[in-house]
Symmetry: C2
Subunit: 480 residues, 2 copies
Amino acid sequence: MTQMAAARNGTVTEEMERVAEREGVDPAFVRQQVADGQAVIPANVGHDSLDPMIIGREFATKVNANIGNSEETSDIEGELEKLHTAVHYGADTVMDLSTGRNLDEIRSANVTHSPVPVGTVPIYEAVKRASDPSEITHELLLDVIEKQAKQGVDYMTIHAGVRMEHLPLTDGRKTGIVSRGGSILAKWIEENGMENPLYTKFEAICEIFREYDVTFSLGDGLRPGCLADAGDDAQFAELDTLGELTRTAWKHDVQVMVEGPGHVPMDQVAEQVERQQEVCDGAPFYVLGPLVTDVAPGYDHITSAIGATEAGRAGAAMLCYVTPKEHLGLPEKSDVRDGLAAYRIAAHAADVANGREGARDWDDALSEARYAFDWREQFDLALDPDRAREYHDQTLPGDNYKEARFCSMCGVEFCSMRIDQDARSDGDMESIEADADDRTPLEDSSAAAVNRPPVGTHDGADIPGPDADMPADTEGSADD
Amino acid sequence: MTQMAAARNGTVTEEMERVAEREGVDPAFVRQQVADGQAVIPANVGHDSLDPMIIGREFATKVNANIGNSEETSDIEGELEKLHTAVHYGADTVMDLSTGRNLDEIRSANVTHSPVPVGTVPIYEAVKRASDPSEITHELLLDVIEKQAKQGVDYMTIHAGVRMEHLPLTDGRKTGIVSRGGSILAKWIEENGMENPLYTKFEAICEIFREYDVTFSLGDGLRPGCLADAGDDAQFAELDTLGELTRTAWKHDVQVMVEGPGHVPMDQVAEQVERQQEVCDGAPFYVLGPLVTDVAPGYDHITSAIGATEAGRAGAAMLCYVTPKEHLGLPEKSDVRDGLAAYRIAAHAADVANGREGARDWDDALSEARYAFDWREQFDLALDPDRAREYHDQTLPGDNYKEARFCSMCGVEFCSMRIDQDARSDGDMESIEADADDRTPLEDSSAAAVNRPPVGTHDGADIPGPDADMPADTEGSADD
């Protein structure tokens, strides 16, 4: 039985109990949100190592990291190391986008070891197994999807909204179809002169998903690949189809989230989120950025984290990270770290902006430590403790500087917080209490449980990797 | 005569002609904006090397980079190298925040060589010359300000809004007073029991500024240093005083911009900008970020670029960059590069969002080159060409890959743009023209003239530096 079927039957599952605990909310609220399709708990019945999590606009904003091999690499150990890195730096879900060799082994290893939901794009394996995208058969597609469901994959991107009638709407674009799955299906449709097989077989896919409780991630195969193409007829025609498919999946008690762009100017991000929420009846929106400008290859973790923050503020439920290598090459481990940092920032900033209970506690605790010149605590509370410590110690490495009332940015004579504290010893201003005892406690805060990586999110210690014997939440870990 | 006095007399100055040309607008419009105080042209009458620029909400969003030495370093060559780096990576203005030795020599060298306006914070020199902040006299302050004005400084941060009556409003804060100038003046006020000398002598400062046409940058000495303190009574009481001082300066025909925070949650950024515009009668808003979360030391160029984009979208005129070293240490050259990249992104994304004429041309031209697999053109058009090329070439360095229809991110089999183009050879979809001849021209676009660094902004070739003999706009420059 799927989480959605259970929820609709009035049952609070173990998974709902767990996510309620993690988010600091009532299990009954979780059940209602899942029953109504407003949130999803991607949890394949066969994914034993999973620590359940929830994706929905009423919960903390989540972050996905894409991992997986390319044609050049096929090493399982290397892939598990990527999984470890992603979980260590705070990925709430991972997508295995492998397109090289050993697809089955890598996927199984990821599911076996991952404490976070694993997503895939089954059309990639179908392409690998057919001699050409246009040779993919309906049977092959369903076969691949069922096999991956059996392997324990928690959610799958299904580009069923790329319909034959939408394709000519992309003719006037600057960058055509930029989704890999979207372009593969467009080629299939064009060469076979038939409707998208993922669309025509959608109810058969629903039946498979219901059996294993796989969550749909309805792919936006026609998403804009540049600002000029944002919000065009092709994009919104596909979105309308995704709304229709959302309702179809719900009839089968199958959970659904909907994928979104891409490249969108800052002033259009909020309206894009609002439109998806309306067209898809509140199904969780899972966005890729969006990038708010096309001009900065090499910095697209930043161009997209800006759009992602605005999307999260407007109601997007999960943000798919983009790394600095986007548009340029295959990301390395350091890119995964930079991408996740940018996206943990976006997700948390959105939660603070939305007034999510407890979210700002994290900011408060860190700022209190900062004002108290408690450098060690400031590093420990930082989103990336290793990097904060590394940057500080570049100029003032000595242990004595960990209690100094200044850093090298301004020096002791010009440190505003030092001067401010001294000024409060005379005159009209009162001292500000900054002792450790007076600080915001994070133990009972949802910020501590959900927002803070790597301490507060999933434990990656059981994932084989170069530093697998080192707990993911200790100060000493340095796996970059 | 100041630019404002000339504008009010109906005169279009050479500087107004030049900025009108750069921004692609009518000189009469520039004159009116300056006359009304809605925009400033910081251009000290003695700054001979200046290429004039304009700051105002009706013009392209600008970026400032802070440079300057600390107590540990005092090398003029090193400082000029920082100036070179800042201009090379697209700083529209620089602030010399030196607090070490040789302040006069460094300031003079910066003014002599800088093609962009140079700003300072004169209270820093006053502190260096007095034995203690509380020993600063009114005479010393005016003396320092007049000397710096004579040296050709184009704008100065004057923290005249930190009034005695505002100080107790900071008592309940988490991080007190985090502006260096603000904390120095608070200490002065507390120890002397007298009103802020920059406030009591404000009209005398106006007279000096009028003589040399120095622009006020009214400092926000009580800006919030953490999310919890954003928008509190202390901040807004000071803002009201800055509004009053804006009107006083305008009576003296002196140009004014107003500084803003700091640390502000994403949902409050736009309303903060709107409030400043209302309280200060539309005087240009010059914001430091703001950071939308406190939790990410080491990544504050990102936390703040998010807020800066939103601020620019809402009407802020200039964005003061923040580097990855913020809160942790003195920035190095690579930090200046990363900070400027993040802020050029923010400024440009805001201009696109605001529909500034020609701004999106840059995005369009780059995306067209991307779809055409014209890698060299894509790199040349990139915000940071060297970095884009470097990242691409890490995996595919060969010259033949500069025309390849894929990169290592997806590989040839899964490159969506390659598949999309192939799909358009049969079926219903039409080909998308991507020849060089069909692309968006940037020659006559304001995006090319104002937004693109380093090609389109100021020429840094005359600034002495390690690569001073290499033009700042060639591909080969690599001064990181």
